[in-house]
Amino acid sequence: MSNIPGELKYTKTHEWVRDEGDGVVTVGISDHAQELLGDLVFVELPEVEAELAAGDECAVVESVKAASDIYCPINGEVIEINEALADAPETINGDPYESGWIFKLKAVDGEDLEGLMDAEAYAEHCESEDH
């Protein structure tokens, strides 16, 4: 069973979102997602200052098996990217929720995380996709 921290929000496309306060969120991919992908060998990061809408393809993670798009979870501007992933994409396999974070967004005004799933709903979502 994969690890699904209770304090995070999740998308149907397997991104996790952490509310850092002041409208800033950190985004990564879930433990379930990294497990499905297998050993990661390349991460294409978004550009800092890119203005994104929820649902935009904004990054790519590639494993030995396949390339997978990362979708932006909410409307906002990229304020930081995890450059360490360029040399060590496998960090996401080992530590998807902490050192394997991918980018940080400053949400546009009025944007919240209400439309995203909590841990329980995400666990059910993973379960249903497995069958």
Binding site: G38, D39, F42, E44, E62, V64, A67
Partner: protein, 364 residues
């Protein structure tokens, strides 16, 4: 729900933590945790693969050699010592590749083929269509399992699990030769670029061998590592690098086509016409210079002109770079780029294999 077939080792794979995927109509392990670690185990030590989804076909009859001489693009006349193996394509009359296979000479009235899983049905139909003219009996051996043990330490570890006199015979095998007793058929062949054996055995003995190998420290490996290993070794994969729409000459397999004499094999006329016409696409190895991953079907460019596509691509764990195989227009220049998500990234053409016997064969 999945209607995929299961090999006799299916339960063992699951017990050992395999992630299972559909492959060629079968439910097969892709890895047991880390594909890259499995890959390294085969390059540095030993790994074991379940290849029971592949099909053993026995061909018997007084004229079986003449039959295979007609059927295969490589020449079974090269097989003069019992146990000797030959890699060949089986072609359509128009030169398209029906399958690639290994054929073993066992006796003048008995040859054995190992064919791909995904092509088994059409291969057997084709064999059965061609065989009657030569009075050859085509017998698929679905009741046999097949286990590949690969890596620098693989043969030593597998030999310890064999009984005499098979052990002595297997220990003395040269590459691309096989030995057998009543139970096991052991060939010094593989699909990884490393030394090792492929062992054909009764299904009910496969689990015991698998467990003993694992206990001896041989790492269970999935189809994921099998794919990156064969790609590094520069070995073609049927359905990706060649299929019924292309000839072996356009797939880097010209070396497997024996046309020096006048032997009349199926597809010969088409290959001769292709040679006369010139303009045969090149099949080459590629290294991606920067970051990113080559994947099959990505398009290749010489300047603005599209000149071909990647047939197999991936990440090479040994070289820590992305590598690929590609079919490219004969007149394309040396400086190629690949379109990855709208960006054109520079490539370098290299001679394959990329890796052999644990050692890189190209500079990175």
């Amino acid at each position: 729900m999945s209607a995929d077939r299961k090999t006799v080792l299916n339960g063992v794979h699951r017990e050992m933590g395999a992630r299972m995927v559909p492959f060629g109509g079968w439910d097969m392990p892709v890895h047991y945790g880390s594909q890259i670690e499995e890959h390294h185990a085969v390059r540095r030590d030993a790994g074991v693969f379940d290849v029971s989804h592949m099909t053993v076909v026995d061909l018997r009859g007084a004229q079986v050699r003449a039959f295979l001489s007609h059927l295969l693009a490589n020449d079974v006349a090269k097989l003069q010592v019992p146990g000797k193996a030959l890699y060949s394509c089986m072609l359509r009359p128009d030169g398209g590749v029906i399958d690639d296979l290994i054929v073993y000479f066992l006796a003048e009235d008995w040859f054995r083929m190992v064919i791909n899983a995904g092509t088994t049905e059409k291969d057997i139909a084709w064999l059965q269509q061609q065989a009657p003219a030569f009075g050859v009996e085509v017998a698929p051996r679905f009741e046999l399992g097949m286990i590949a043990v690969q890596g620098p330490q693989a043969r030593g570890k597998a030999l310890e699990l064999m009984d005499e006199p098979l052990r002595e015979a297997a220990a003395g095998l040269k590459p691309f030769n096989a030995a057998s007793d009543d139970h096991w058929f052991v060939a010094r062949t593989g699909y990884t670029g490393e030394d090792g054996f492929e062992i054909v055995l009764p299904e009910n003995e496969a689990e015991a061998l698998w467990r003993k190998l694992a206990q001896a420290g041989v790492r269970p490996c999935g189809l994921g590592a099998r794919d990156t290993l064969r790609l590094e070794a520069g070995m073609n994969l049927y359905g990706q690098d060649m299929d019924e729409k292309v000839t072996p000459l356009a797939s880097g397999l010209g070396w497997t086509v024996a046309m020096a004499d006048q032997r009349d094999f199926i597809g010969r006329a088409a290959l001769e016409a292709q040679k006369t016409g010139g303009d045969i696409p090149l099949f080459c190895g590629l290294v991606l210079e920067g970051r990113g991953v080559l994947r099959s079907h990505q398009k290749l460019f010489d300047g603005e002109r599209e000149v071909g596509e990647i047939t197999s691509g991936g990440f090479s764990p040994t070289l820590e770079r992305s590598i690929g195989m590609a079919r490219v227009a004969a007149d394309a220049g040396d400086d190629l780029t690949v379109d990855i998500r709208g960006r054109k990234l520079p490539l370098r053409r290299v001679k394959m294999p990329f890796v052999r016997n644990g050692q890189p064969q190209i500079e990175v």
